[in-house]
């Protein structure tokens, strides 16, 4: 009995070390709930006429980034998997962000809109 428990503990530890341990279904529902609330808040801003763009746009961007990272970290398991997967994905994401930020700057998007 004791040996079996030790074996199980060692096995779980090994899973954790290799990042294969995934969350429970309950946790997935909780994450979906957070995403639903964030989406409702985002959509709610559509009816807020009095909020100026200088506040509204950064607010929307923050909620978008939070949703992005919740899906990537929990549903795509980047939080639990080997960090090499995240590095490959972030390489593409960062490269795209830099290239197209330069692209938009060259075409004076930030001034003209």
């Amino acid at each position: 009995m004791s040996t079996e428990t030790e074996h199980t503990t060692e096995s779980e530890k090994s899973d954790d070390e290799h990042g294969h341990e995934h969350p429970s279904d309950k946790k997935y529902f909780q994450i979906a709930g957070i995403l639903a609330i964030l989406t409702a808040l985002e959509v709610g801003t559509y009816w807020l006429d009095s909020v100026p763009g200088e506040i509204l746009i950064p607010l929307l961007m923050i909620m978008m980034v939070v949703k992005f990272f919740y899906v990537a970290a929990w549903f795509m398991h980047l939080r639990f998997d080997n960090s090499l997967f995240m590095k490959f994905f972030l390489s593409g994401l960062v490269l795209a962000s830099v290239v197209y930020a330069i692209f938009l700057t060259v075409f004076e998007f930030w001034h003209k809109g």
Binding site: H22, D25, Y28, F29, I31, A32, L35, A36, T39, E42, V43, T45, Y46, G53, L56, I57, L60, M61, M63, M64, K67, F68, V71, A72, W74, F75, M76, N82, L84, F85, F88, F89, L90, S91, G92, L93, L95, A96, S97, V99, Y100, F103, L104, F107, F109, K112, G113
Partner: protein
């Protein structure tokens, strides 16, 4: 041979299929980045056609966005079920995910036909070309995802999708979640950030 055994035989100790999928998704960031930045440059150039601020139906698109977002939950539940060896629930969640994806695509077809009736065609203005190209590319990605999901469902119904092949579902799941992530970005930047009006 299981996928885990296969992974252990690779030089990195990781599944090369999964690594390849992540590299592919990283490259997809560049594709969608180009389409989104092109749209941003052209959204104010609507010539004599409808302007984005006049034509977008935010409440309708919000429902579509919510449907796609929830399909990410059903996708991860499908994977979770198969990893537990629960093939019946795996099929149920795969089918639910495919249906939610089909509802999203149906909503996009409805949106496009409404825009066409209101005078916004593909070549009406630089704005319309950029808009239809961006959202059309995304719609094609969702449609391909629905086909992949239905293939998995059929494979499971025929008894060919077991716990040992959970990585196949995980790979399709990664693609599906990525398509959802891209829509999170498109929905905010294209629809919710105030657009020019005529």
């Amino acid at each position: 041979m299981t996928n885990q055994t296969h992974s252990a035989e690779t030089s990195t100790g990781l599944s090369h299929n999964k690594l390849g999928m992540w590299v592919f998704l990283g490259s997809e960031c560049l594709l969608f980045g180009s389409l989104i930045s092109t749209y941003l440059l052209y959204r104010g150039r609507f010539a004599d056609g409808p302007a984005p601020g006049d034509i977008f139906d935010i409440p309708f698109t919000s429902v579509s966005s919510f449907v796609l977002l929830m399909s990410s939950l059903t996708m991860v539940l499908a994977l979770s079920a198969l990893q537990r060896g629960d093939e019946r629930n795996n099929r149920l969640w795969l089918l639910t995910t495919a249906l939610l994806g089909a509802v999203f695509v149906g909503g996009q077809v409805y949106e496009f036909t409404t825009f066409l009736r209101e005078g916004l065609g593909y070549t009406t203005s630089p704005f319309s070309s950029a808009f239809f190209t961006l959202t059309g590319f995304h719609g094609v990605h969702v449609s391909l995802g629905v086909i992949f999901l239905m293939s998995l469902y059929v494979s499971s119904a025929r008894g060919n999708l077991h716990k040992e092949r959970a990585e196949t579902v995980e790979l399709i799941g990664l693609y599906w979640h990525f398509v959802d992530i891209v829509w999170i970005f498109i929905f905010t930047v294209i629809y919710l950030v105030p657009s020019p009006t005529s």
